[in-house]
Symmetry: C3
Subunit: 308 residues, 3 copies
Amino acid sequence: MEFTRNNSDKLIEEILQSYQDHPESTRFSGKNILNRELLIDILYKIREILFPGFYDKNRVRAEYARYLVGEKIEFIQYNLTKQVSIALGTQDLCEECPRSVLMHKAETIVDEFLKQIPALREYLATDVQAAFDGDPAAYSTDEIILSYPGLMAITTYRIAHELWRRQVPLIPRILSEHAHSLTGIDIHPGATIGRYFFIDHGTGIVIGETTEIGDNVKIYQGVTLGGLSTRKGQGLKGVKRHPTLGNHVTVYSGTTVLGGETIIGDNVTIGGNTFVIHSIPADTRVSARPPELELSSGLKEDYGDVID
Amino acid sequence: MEFTRNNSDKLIEEILQSYQDHPESTRFSGKNILNRELLIDILYKIREILFPGFYDKNRVRAEYARYLVGEKIEFIQYNLTKQVSIALGTQDLCEECPRSVLMHKAETIVDEFLKQIPALREYLATDVQAAFDGDPAAYSTDEIILSYPGLMAITTYRIAHELWRRQVPLIPRILSEHAHSLTGIDIHPGATIGRYFFIDHGTGIVIGETTEIGDNVKIYQGVTLGGLSTRKGQGLKGVKRHPTLGNHVTVYSGTTVLGGETIIGDNVTIGGNTFVIHSIPADTRVSARPPELELSSGLKEDYGDVID
Amino acid sequence: MEFTRNNSDKLIEEILQSYQDHPESTRFSGKNILNRELLIDILYKIREILFPGFYDKNRVRAEYARYLVGEKIEFIQYNLTKQVSIALGTQDLCEECPRSVLMHKAETIVDEFLKQIPALREYLATDVQAAFDGDPAAYSTDEIILSYPGLMAITTYRIAHELWRRQVPLIPRILSEHAHSLTGIDIHPGATIGRYFFIDHGTGIVIGETTEIGDNVKIYQGVTLGGLSTRKGQGLKGVKRHPTLGNHVTVYSGTTVLGGETIIGDNVTIGGNTFVIHSIPADTRVSARPPELELSSGLKEDYGDVID
């Protein structure tokens, strides 16, 4: 038996060479790396604590709740602390931090995060109520908790935001992009969102990093709360570039609201398919004039068919 | 060895307290709960029966088809009946129903559902044909069945609708939200949709609960068939609030059609990015006038750049 | 013990009958069938080679890179070759091809594909850089590689396009629809896309089969680069029906650009929510005039509320 070289050798050498040529898309290190699957597991465990009995595989009885919660807290504490310490280790300023310092910082962050669970439940109970009050297609609050993608996105946002506030790198975005992938709803973990927040349908929603949203706000599918600026890219890091929405604001489907200085007052309703780049005073309704439609016989072809 | 209390005890007590404070987002009960993963498995088994040989892991030969179908029917009958009985048990009116009554009702529903499989295949064969006829990018009907998200969404809708018609709570919506998550296409299981239905691309489509759609209808990405009303939320429960589309209607991408009294006649084509809140007579084409565009040199900044 | 018939027998016979009635949605054959799950595994292995150390479960050290790459190449070579040979076997012209011919053709294709890995890394390094330069919300290139759905979609497109160019049936579309499902970004594997391509947010983007895109192009959520024609469906097979974009073009969210003869020149910026069906000369900015908005008191109801 001879362990001859095979005809993939040249290919493998070329790939290794390309790793040297492009170190920025190569990450070799003796350091541990974030475990995305584990982070998603942690997200679901947190969600099970937040809504006990809804997402569990088996029935959950009140007399055993203490043990179920205890087991999940233990899992989260152990695993999230480790992941947070790995994430902290990726920051430039900590390139040389000893591991024990990172672990200690991670423990503190996770402890603080876990203490927020009752407050998160307060917020999420208002979100469930807002969905039920706002959607005639909702038959029960159970249906909302079991199946509404908007609630999944908001739950993930509220969890990710708590980690974001504590300067955890990478993990908040990994969690929010997981929810984005499942729901088509892209809420940056840096956004600030009040109580009774309702997202209906939700696919295509984008809520940018520096957006501020008050209480009792409703957002429909395809809405962008986005950035607007004459400057470019990384030059805008940290600048407030996304809009501010007051309380009791409703934004219907397909509408775009842009700009860090765009302030939407309390009790404003913005109609669908509207493009907003200026502030709107409180207590007003805004809508684009519905476009003039052209009706013509089926034979006349104005600009052809849109086909694929 | 001593089983001392640990420093999570206070946290766990606070979480338990929050369960008492917000019972509406807490579900402790001796009752069994719906198993979402099992429901998704059942959905895929049904799909394997509907399109034999396309989604199976191994090759399927005609001479063994009887056994493969039989095994899948057995799986579905056993598991779906149990899940339906659990779902029926969540309805308020059945809070006190004995389990045997729920099981009997569930058996009847699942038997009726399974008898619809040949009829579902009739419908779905027309949907596959419509996709092939309508999309120049389709190279074969196999490609459509294997990879088109529109067909996944329509298949799931047609399955969920059969359960919805039989008043099964929660499960139809769980199935349709699974397809929504995979495809970005949100078809409420309550909608009524005819033969030869084609969805292209599909991300961002919303089809509301009381929508009615005829035969040979084509819908593109980002289309909303939605509700419109001056009344609010739960007050509209059960009211017809989404549009009616006739036969041979095409709605291009990004268009919004709203309202329960909005009737789109036969052979109507609605262009892209159009906002429709009134009925349209048969045999007409409707389009928004393309917006006047402003061309300017790259240096003039009209309303700045939209950036993130 | 008696193996009696059960009451599902009639149902099963009816289903088998429906298989005979609709052979086009039935695929019984002694041939092997494509394994979608395995294809997705292969996609992720390729991605791990393209961005080593980012998506692995364990840390990856440079001194072991050769072995990790070798193991993954071996996995891809073996499995992808088999899947490609199955895909080639589905083509009408090869109905009678002997298996050895298909295997040989598949081996050649996979060898050629694997040789493209260093070139793919060149392209993808430019895409990562474009995302970092273009997005003020990006904190590091690591964040982009670990969490940006746009990069996932582009990576999958670049892989699928290499198979598409070599006339592999079905598989490129299965891969691109997987990315579409995860990201809401639908890039047809037939499209041609240059370097430094950046997709932000991305949900709802559609890029059609015959689209051509230059270098340094940025596309935001909800953009369609689609077809436009007065002819229908399969009659357009192979015709150039999607637009051409030059270099340094930016298209903001919700905009639709249609037509095979629509050419967008170099250095063009197209604003959000714009509908473009004609060519645009180089070095210009184009935007729809923001719609005139109607502000009214909260009590006046112009066209009611859009509700669900």
